[in-house]
């Protein structure tokens, strides 16, 4: 086996730690815990303002539950492909990892595309960011989530391209695991949003 000095993408990943958890993984968990409160505040704002819009359109006027269910499923599926990507890199199968990373990114893009289509339709039906309280809270909540997804897609595609330079290997599979943690979190948040915003019935 050739001796090669592989560049570590993340620092201090192999050192012993007091808790046993690597630094970067612990950092990601803490960040995600912090992000829970971010979405908590957004979702709370939405819930507190539910039913308080003075003028329409109202949620039942615009929501297309079947459509959003499909795009939710797409996002859910991307978590599966993410798991497969991680499993691949952990066993050293880089081509498979790239395949599943790309698949995850594509599914994520499909989800975002679905959101774009959905919001454009809402807009044409008269619901903008400034129309009423519903528009305000809805777009900002889903917009923050969509931004998180977009950042995730960027990270996935970065991993994908960096792997061609030998910077993502079995040795630093944890990098993929950490991005995976983030991706699953974004997925779980969507489940909560979908349930609270779309599925729970509201008034007119």
């Amino acid at each position: 086996m050739q001796e090669q000095a592989t560049i570590h993408v993340y620092e201090s990943e192999h050192e012993a730690t007091s808790t046993g958890l690597p630094n970067t993984k612990l950092a990601m968990w803490l960040f995600l815990a912090s992000d829970v409160l971010l979405f908590g505040a957004l979702i709370t704002s939405y819930v507190v303002y539910r039913g308080r819009s003075v003028i329409g359109p109202y949620p039942n006027d615009v929501f297309d539950i079947p459509f959003t269910s499909v795009s939710s499923f797409v996002l859910l599926a991307s978590s599966l492909t993410m798991v497969l990507a991680l499993a691949s890199v952990q066993r050293g199968d880089l081509p498979r990892m790239r395949l599943w990373l790309l698949a995850t990114a594509m599914l994520g893009l499909a989800f975002v595309g679905g959101q774009v289509y959905e919001f454009t339709t809402f807009y044409e039906e008269g619901l903008s960011l400034t129309t009423n309280v519903f528009g305000t809270t809805f777009y900002v909540l889903t917009g923050f989530h969509g931004t998180h997804v977009a950042i995730g897609i960027l990270m996935l595609l970065s991993l994908f391209s960096l792997s061609f330079g030998g910077r993502v290997t079995q040795r630093n599979a944890m990098t993929v695991e950490i991005v995976g943690l983030y991706w699953h979190f974004v997925d779980i948040v969507w489940i909560v949003i979908f349930t609270v915003v779309y599925l729970i019935p509201t008034g007119p």
Partner: protein, 621 residues
């Protein structure tokens, strides 16, 4: 499979070559060394302290007499707003961060924090956030809606000030959130062998609690600030009652952050006091576990009291009762700390150099602030007290008499470690007494002013209200404080001229940072110490002969891990340009959001490019 081989010295090509300076101006710009970053935080925070102090003096001059118009209402509103923003976000938080950054790795026996470049990023983002907010004076008006920025006033104000407020605080918030994760990982993961959680110094414990408070409270205000920004910039309806929304939502979100924030402001100073008192009593901290647990309890309960800032909003008697009770409850762990500090001094061998004066001053002043806080928790009494100078008195007693006194104590205590010289004792003592007298003259009378009818945030008051005398006294006190601070600056100037000639442990202290040289070498310790007990450094100097009785270890005993050698074989993280680059990108983005979307896009590009370069640049070794 292609792979990239890289020469061992880390140069992977011109663009990504890491800087190498270890001294001089550029070494400060590209440093990732927690000690240098700590000093940067400290100097910057102190500069903002002077600015915030000038703002306070302006307020006091305007209020010294009734019916004055030295400062018009619009200017006055900007000044008291900026005073609050400065002192909370640009002084106490970063000054605490200075101590946390410098000391925590040393106290846990580590060589640096978990993510050194991220550490630098936090500093630069903070600096640029402060610059951004202050630049608003020249770019359309400073924030003028109070540091608390209540909607709808903050939304409806026609100037740009509150837009700068929202964006500036978002920047500072990101800096602190990133730092919180960094420090938390450092404390949890990078302790020296043998240092269990319950062998950590109290300062480290308080720092750990603070990082969790930051990580969980900042996201909430982040959302509130975005909502405010969107309402102002895009016409959304988050706080628009005409559209059916509720202005009080802002208050809930703000105070859900704002209350944990006050514990963020005070716990580091409490940690400092918990280190100083044992040293100058020559006894360990009384009730270590109880002090630690009370800090954790305060952290938790601190998330459950926020409505006590809103008793008069009209949430109803049930809500007011529930939060009145939770606020009363939080007084208990606070009291536990105070009693344990008294217990530390009890039967000690007390000396009172300047650090000890400030530590004892902290206890004395914090008790007053805490007691007035208890009177606020009596909800109906608060219906009279809220929004008056009685509240101003309370929080200045805990934040100035508490946090600032504690932080000054820390400055005097650790100055020899950081800079290799002790601050002048004579000047220090005068500084302390002047500051104590000035402080009490300034804020003591405010209790009376508040109870006798002076609301907050008023640019002036009529003669008939009978508030003149104590306002004048308060103003005189403020100038005495200013004199005291000036004395401190003179002390610093005089001290820094002296040569560096300080032993490792000038105070005969207890914690690991005193095992290494003053100042420490870049790699902190030649050999990472192994920890066998709480107050490890003390136990290396003194051995127990009978329960509670110690004698010095005979000469030549297990001594300090002095940093005499050059630290062979220790690899430290290299400096990096990219924390500054990324921060500059964020700054451009910030201005862009106010002025021009093209500028914002440019800023985003710089930020992203900087992030990618950061990820790709070669690491050490």
């Amino acid at each position: 499979m292609a792979s990239v081989t890289v020469p061992a010295d880390g140069r992977a090509g011109g663009l990504l070559r890491r800087p190498t300076a270890t001294a001089g101006f550029w070494s400060w710009i590209t440093t990732v060394d927690h000690k240098k970053i700590g000093i940067l935080y400290g100097v910057t925070a102190f500069a903002f302290f002077i600015v915030g102090g000038v703002e306070a003096l302006l307020i006091r001059v305007q209020l010294a007499q009734p019916d004055q118009a030295l400062l018009s209402p619009s200017v006055y509103n900007e000044i008291f707003t900026m005073h609050g923003i400065t002192m909370v976000f640009l002084v106490v938080m970063p000054l605490s961060a200075a101590f946390v950054n410098y000391l925590v790795p040393l106290m846990i026996g580590a060589r640096d924090v978990a993510f050194p470049r991220l550490n630098a990023l936090s500093y630069w983002l903070f600096l640029f956030a402060g610059v951004f907010i202050y630049s608003s004076w020249f770019l359309g008006g400073a924030p003028n809606g109070g540091w608390f920025g209540y909607a709808p006033n903050a939304v409806l104000d026609p100037t740009r000030g509150m837009t700068f407020y929202a964006i500036g605080l978002l920047m500072a918030g990101v800096a602190s959130t990133v730092s919180a994760i960094n420090i938390a990982v450092t404390i949890l993961n990078m302790r020296a062998p043998g240092m269990t959680l319950f062998r950590m110094p109290v300062f480290v414990w308080m720092s750990l609690v603070v990082q969790f408070l930051l990580a969980f409270s900042l996201p909430i205000i982040t959302i509130a600030l975005f909502q405010l920004l969107f309402d102002k910039r895009f016409g959304t309806h988050f706080f628009d009652s005409v559209a059916g929304a509720d202005p009080v939502l802002w208050q809930h979100l703000f105070w859900l952050f704002g209350h944990p924030e006050v514990y963020i402001l005070i716990l580091p100073a409490m940690g400092i006091v918990s280190e100083i008192l044992p040293t100058f009593a020559r006894k360990p901290l009384f009730g270590y576990q109880f002090v630690v647990f009370s800090g954790i309890a305060i952290g938790f309960i601190g998330f459950g009291v926020w409505v006590h800032h809103m008793y008069a909003v009209g949430l109803g008697p049930i809500a007011n009762t529930a939060f009145g009770i939770s606020t009363i409850i939080i007084a208990v762990p606070t009291g536990v700390k105070i009693f344990n500090w008294l217990g530390t001094m009890w039967k000690g061998d007390l000396t009172f150099p300047t650090p000890m004066l400030f530590a004892v001053g902290f206890v004395a002043m914090f008790v007053i602030g805490g007691l007035s806080g208890v009177t606020h928790s009596v909800v109906p009494a608060d219906y009279q007290q809220t929004d008056t100078y009685y509240i101003v008195a309370h929080f200045h007693y805990v934040l100035f008499g508490g946090a600032i006194f504690g932080l000054f104590g820390g400055l005097y205590y650790w100055w020899p470690k950081v800079f290799g010289r002790k601050l002048n004792e004579g000047l220090g003592k005068v500084h302390f007494w002047l500051m104590l007298i000035g402080f009490n003259l300034t804020f003591g009378p405010m209790h009376v002013l508040g109870l006798q009818g002076m609301p907050r945030r008023i640019q002036t008051y009529p003669e008939e209200l009978g508030l003149t005398f104590w306002n004048l006294v308060s103003t005189v006190g403020a100038f005495i404080i200013a004199l005291a601070v000036l004395l401190f600056l003179i002390n610093v100037a005089v001290t820094q001229r002296k040569p560096k000639a300080m032993e490792a442990d000038p105070w005969d202290a207890r914690t690991l940072e005193w095992l290494t040289t003053s100042p420490p070498p870049e790699h902190n310790f030649d050999e990472i110490p192994t920890v066998h007990a709480l107050d490890e450094a003390w136990h290396r100097k003194y051995v127990e002969t009978a329960p509670g009785r110690v004698v010095p270890v005979p000469a030549g005993g297990s001594g300090a891990a002095a940093g005499g050698s050059q630290g062979h074989g220790v690899h430290l993280p290299s400096p990096s340009y990219y924390p500054v680059v990324v921060s500059l990108g964020v700054l451009l983005l910030a201005y862009g959001v106010v002025f021009s979307w093209w500028l914002a896009a440019a800023g985003a590009v710089v930020m992203l490019a900087g992030l990618y370069a950061w990820v790709l640049e070669p690491s050490v070794e």
